[in-house]
């Protein structure tokens, strides 16, 4: 998976490069619009992360010119939180946009979404000794049926599909409850707490982990056993 980052702020580039490389992407970058456009037009990328405010050629223009020849998925980064900015970006052919300040996890989630990567599409998922059947909506652990509510199952499914990936609260809220605006509630924390009691409560080996300030991971960590 090859990603192009067009961004002029060195710190942003540095952490995006590091983070995405560690996630297994191969990352190129350009620090101005002209170079970025040139790279995007000549090389094949799976996705382009494009800042709106760029020297020499602004992001929207870069996108418009790129769209004349290529349909590479583009995620726009914008600091302007206005409807016009969004419309401008999407109207110019962006596949998605993120408003600064955005979280890295969210960028990752959207990148995975537009590149259709990192998601387990099968209907039966196993995490350690936890088994999920997405068709019959049943979950078992160590062979024992877990008694989950519909929402709890949906939450577990979202985490299981992204096994071993950190899933942010925003993504959880969006996918489990179809809520796509900022909420300052602790619904996700409470829901996770309850789910954890049901799937991990009676077991020594914990599967549902909290990554403070980021989100939650569902994974089997053998070294933590015992």
């Amino acid at each position: 998976m090859k990603i192009l980052i067009v961004e002029d702020e060195p710190k942003t580039v540095a952490y995006l490069r590091k983070g995405l490389t560690e996630q297994g992407y191969s990352v190129d970058f350009a620090s101005d619009g002209e170079n970025g456009l040139h790279l995007a037009q000549t090389l094949d990328y799976d996705a382009v992360i494009l800042d709106v405010m760029l020297p020499r050629l602004d992001g929207v223009t870069v996108l418009q010119r790129l769209r004349q020849s290529r349909q590479t998925p583009v995620i726009m980064l914008t600091a302007r939180d206005s409807v016009e900015a969004r419309l401008q970006g999407l109207g110019a052919g962006a596949d998605d946009y993120l408003i600064k300040p955005f979280s890295f996890l969210e960028l990752l989630a959207r990148l995975q979404a537009i590149t259709r990567r990192g998601r387990n599409e099968s209907t039966a998922i196993a995490v350690g000794d936890l088994h999920l059947d997405l068709l019959s909506r049943r979950a078992t652990r160590a062979g024992k049926r877990l008694n989950l509510t519909a929402k709890e199952f949906a939450l577990l499914a979202v985490l299981a599909r992204r096994q071993s990936q950190i899933v942010s609260k925003t993504v959880i809220t969006e996918l489990v409850w179809d809520i796509n605006f900022d909420t300052n509630t602790n619904v996700v924390e409470v829901a996770i707490k309850r789910l954890r009691a049901k799937i991990d409560g009676a077991f020594d080996s914990k599967l549902l982990h909290t990554i403070r300030g980021m989100g939650y991971v569902l994974e089997h960590r053998p070294e933590e056993t015992a």
Partner: protein
Amino acid sequence: MTPTSIAGRLTLMFAVATGLVSALAGVAVFVFQTLELRRHQAEELQARFEIVETMVHRLGEAGRWPLLADKLTSFTPANDAIRYRVDSPDPRFAYGAPWPAGAQVQGPRQGLGYVRFEGRRFMTLSKMVGPYRERPAVRLTIAADTAPFDASGLVLGVGVLAASLLTTAAVSLLGRRIARDGLAPVDRLSQHAAALNPDDLSLRMPTRRLPAELEGLMTAFNGALDRLQHAYVRLSSFNADVAHELRTPLSNLIGQTQVALSRPRRPDELEEVLHSNLEELERLRTIINDMLFLARADQGAVAANLAPTSLAALVRKTADFLDVLFEEAGVTLRVEGDATIAVEESLLGRALTNLLDNAIRHGAGPGRVTVTIEDHGDEVCVGVRNRGAPIQEAHLARLFDRFYRLDPARENSGDSHGLGLAVVKAVAAMHGGGVFARCEHGEVLVGLFLKKRDAAEIVAPPRVTSEPLGSVLAESA
């Protein structure tokens, strides 16, 4: 050209008014005096006529007629300003020449009339004098030149005109002075107004020793200044609040990072610091995003993407999201009424989430939260009612202010940043509505009302602005 200054306009209006009035008065005086002069002349003519008539009347003998003729000749002045004429069928009893050829005669054969010849105008009086002895009936005519009276009329006319012009000029000059003096307070006020500036918001326009008209204006103006000052102070204190809200997490970030870096740490210790930092940073991000949202609403952003939505359904969806919180708090929800109205669902959902969350958070423990949806015709009212400690009127009014907390000690409770109800207010405003908060019978009622839009406004642009994450990430199963 219209003078632009009030003083100039007043002067012009004074001049025009005075000119008109004095012209009218002048014309009236002139006409009256002219009529009076004519009457005077006629009286004089009448008097002369009576004398001569008496003489003619008593004279019956042709022999004595030359005596009368001599007398009449002596009555006639050298410039022929007064002429006598006696027309008689008997030439022995005639006097004076007939009017020269081309004379224009006005008026009846008897009585007052005018005759004009040789460039002169005469007032005439004619009468028949009955026969006496030898003398037949004769016509006696006296003509008096009108020139002296016409001259008086002319002098009068010129005088009246001059007086009227002089009056107009004098009133204009005085009017200018009066207007300037009268408007002097305005000059003074404009100097005061020029001194107004944001550095000293307490400055006000003077209202004492002002003309009544200006006093009212200045009182109203000062009222506007009061409101502006209020808004300005609120804005600055709001800015101070923002700075304060950001300061605490920032100082935590700086402090704990410095402590962590001040000596070698184990990786898990450093990780702990990073996690803690991340939490603070997320908090900052939330505050900034909400502040930007509120700023947009302040700038007059209006809800777009309106779609007819059942409010009860939206409340239930929101409650479904908050379900675990309701359960944890032991609170049940009851939804009363419904209305379908055009709203931007994600905005209203956000407001409802905050309202319900607020009710759970600040309610008096386990119990029931009631959402009442009332259709009031042109607006719809959504109220969230929960049992709770009574809130004073002063606090109720400020409940929707940014960063306003009933209990200052909860300021850094972490899970609430004090913008929840401000967001509710902004959402209501974006839908052309407002918010309300009441406290009655041990219950707190907080809610918002939304204006119903015309059907034409509901035709929303394509929903490209809604967050696309959901559609892109939508689970396939």
